[in-house]
């Protein structure tokens, strides 16, 4: 069923794109959904990006989540105990970042281009808040990338890009259950001979929906009422437990 829908979507894309199938429209892209909704049964989602390319080349897709300040703290052994000693805050680092491509990006694009466009986890520009010496920055930066990668929130290539008949392509990306909410940006690039020959940017948003959205919205907008309800619910649950079990 999903496959059929995708096929129809692909055909629509191809047909709609036909009049513009000239040099300036080498790449046509769409997402399976522009909104990822997190409801109370959310256990992660699969994001499908699909489209068509006019000629030969490789595809690179970069998905970037909302940014926030991220602190990295380091423990050091102090009189036998491991205590937090140094910390470094990286300003406006992406909470989520993924790059997927038909081949390793370091073989597709030259280093300067990858650095300029932040293509690849190793090319992310992570800026520390205060001036620190370079050696320290590297180890803190590596720790940030290592832990985000371990948590499935930064990823390099760990996905599939399939190209059908050299013209239609499909990229799937599995978003974990703890995917950060907020605005995302999906950039898909057609790469030929070490250069980006065409690219399309598409917005994506990850939002809480249904009961999850209502609870989280209420908690932020009506703090005192939320606190009162939380306490009342807990008192009721405890009292009910007592009443029910007294009878048994």
């Amino acid at each position: 069923m999903k496959r059929l829908g995708l096929l129809i979507a692909l055909i629509v894309v191809v047909l709609a794109g036909r009049p513009a199938w000239t040099a300036d429209s080498d790449l046509t892209v769409d997402l399976s959904s522009h909104v990822v909704e997190i409801d109370s049964r959310f256990t992660g989602a699969t994001l499908t990006m699909f489209g068509a390319i006019s000629g030969p080349g490789d595809l690179v897709a970069v998905v970037r989540g909302p940014a926030s300040d991220i602190a990295v703290r380091r423990k050091e052994r102090t009189v036998g105990l491991w205590l937090n000693r140094d910390s470094m805050t990286f300003m406006q680092a992406p909470q989520y970042y993924a790059v997927v491509a038909t081949a390793p990006v370091d073989r597709l694009l030259p280093a300067d281009l990858r650095a300029a466009r932040e293509i690849g986890v190793d090319q992310l520009r992570l800026q520390p808040a205060a001036n620190n010496n370079d050696g320290e920055v590297v180890s803190f930066r590596d720790a940030l990338v290592r832990q985000r990668t371990r948590d499935g929130l930064y990823l390099d290539q760990r996905s599939t890009v399939s190209v059908i008949d050299g013209r239609l392509f499909r990229v799937t990306l599995n978003l974990p259950a703890h995917v950060p909410t907020g605005p995302y940006r999906v950039d898909i690039m057609l790469v030929r001979d070490g250069a980006i020959v065409a690219e399309r940017a598409t917005p994506l948003s990850v939002v809480k929906s249904g009961l999850s959205a209502e609870i989280s919205g209420f908690a932020h907008e009506h703090r005192f009422a939320y606190a009162a309800i939380a306490v009342a619910a807990a008192l009721l649950a405890g009292w009910l437990g007592y009443v029910l079990f007294r009878k048994v």
């Binding site: 109370s40 423990k75 259950a177």
Partner: protein, 304 residues
């Protein structure tokens, strides 16, 4: 059956949460501790962000302590007069504790201070209780007629009051002081404080163990309501979905806990609590001493 927790921002199997709540509930009913000091580290282990684990823990403690407290109340094991003394000190202590928390936080190192406080208190209480239990269990039954309570130094203090449920006529200073110190600990460490209050009431005030548990649960209930409201208002870190799932397990567990507690000998009860307290203490010491897998920790700022 995974369920998405709206404030924590991740999904966890609902049965794991029910079971976790149940286990902590049994301990709560059995020992009269809120279980916050066990629940918070376990939730963090499951991937719940630390502030959400603390904030939600206070909400859960409300549910489990009201359930356990009512079960003890029915057995006439709650000394309301003693609870009022404890809480009058507790409220003042909590206010001071919140101020101290802010001071420590701005100086950095709040995590280490909290961990070290846990180790000192859990270690001291655990050893004290274990030694006493071992001595009691090894000794032959005492043939002499037992007195209602032992006469301790604190009983010489002024402002005496009669506590009928506890069968005591003692000064009000020690319970107020215990409440005050527990209030400080509770707000710094983000727990109800039962694990510190129970042994203090037994050893310092000389209350009978059976009455201590119901009375401390009432104290914990009031303290946890206050801190739950504070967390929900200040940081929006209370996840009701998570708290209710844990609470369903916890209220059921608490009933079983108080039933088991009614059958066990006081020495065994104390010995088990000592064992549990020392286990948690040992784990904290290990974390502080053992070389971590990754010395770095990553925190997203500005998020709950």
């Amino acid at each position: 059956m995974d369920i998405y927790l709206p404030i924590a921002g991740l999904s966890i199997n609902a049965f794991i949460l029910l079971g976790l709540g149940g286990a902590v509930g049994v301990l709560s009913g059995l020992f009269g501790v809120g279980g916050g000091f066990l629940m918070t580290p376990l939730l963090i282990f499951l991937g719940v962000p630390a502030p959400v684990a603390v904030g939600t823990g206070t909400n859960l403690v409300v549910a489990s302590s009201v359930s356990g407290m009512m079960a003890h109340w029915r057995r006439r094991n709650v000394d309301f007069r003693m609870a009022a003394c404890i809480l009058s000190g507790g409220v003042a202590g909590a206010a001071l504790g919140i101020w101290l928390f802010e001071v420590l936080k701005s100086a950095g190192q709040i995590d280490e201070v909290v961990t070290l406080l846990y180790i000192v208190f859990l270690g001291a209480i655990g050893v004290l209780m274990a030694v006493e239990t071992a001595a009691k269990l090894l000794r032959r039954p005492d043939p002499r007629p037992r007195r209602a309570h032992e006469h301790l130094w604190v009983h010489g203090l002024p402002f005496k009051m009669r506590f009928r449920r506890s069968k005591l006529y003692v000064s009000t200073i020690p319970p107020v002081a215990i409440g005050f110190l527990t209030g400080i600990l509770a707000s710094i460490m983000g727990v109800g404080g039962g694990f510190a209050m129970v042994p203090a009431l037994i050893y310092v005030v000389g209350m009978p163990t059976s009455v201590v548990i119901g009375t401390s649960l009432l104290g914990i209930l009031v303290v946890s309501i206050a801190s739950c409201v504070a967390h929900a208002v200040a940081t929006q870190s209370v996840d009701v979905m998570l708290a209710l799932l844990l609470a369903v397990g916890a209220v059921v567990g608490a009933q079983y806990g108080s039933k088991i507690g009614a059958r066990l000998r006081a020495e065994y009860l104390r010995g088990l609590l000592a064992l549990m307290v020392l286990t948690v203490c040992g784990r904290l010491v290990y974390e502080l001493v053992a070389t971590p897998d990754d010395p770095f920790r990553v925190d997203l700022l500005g998020l709950p």
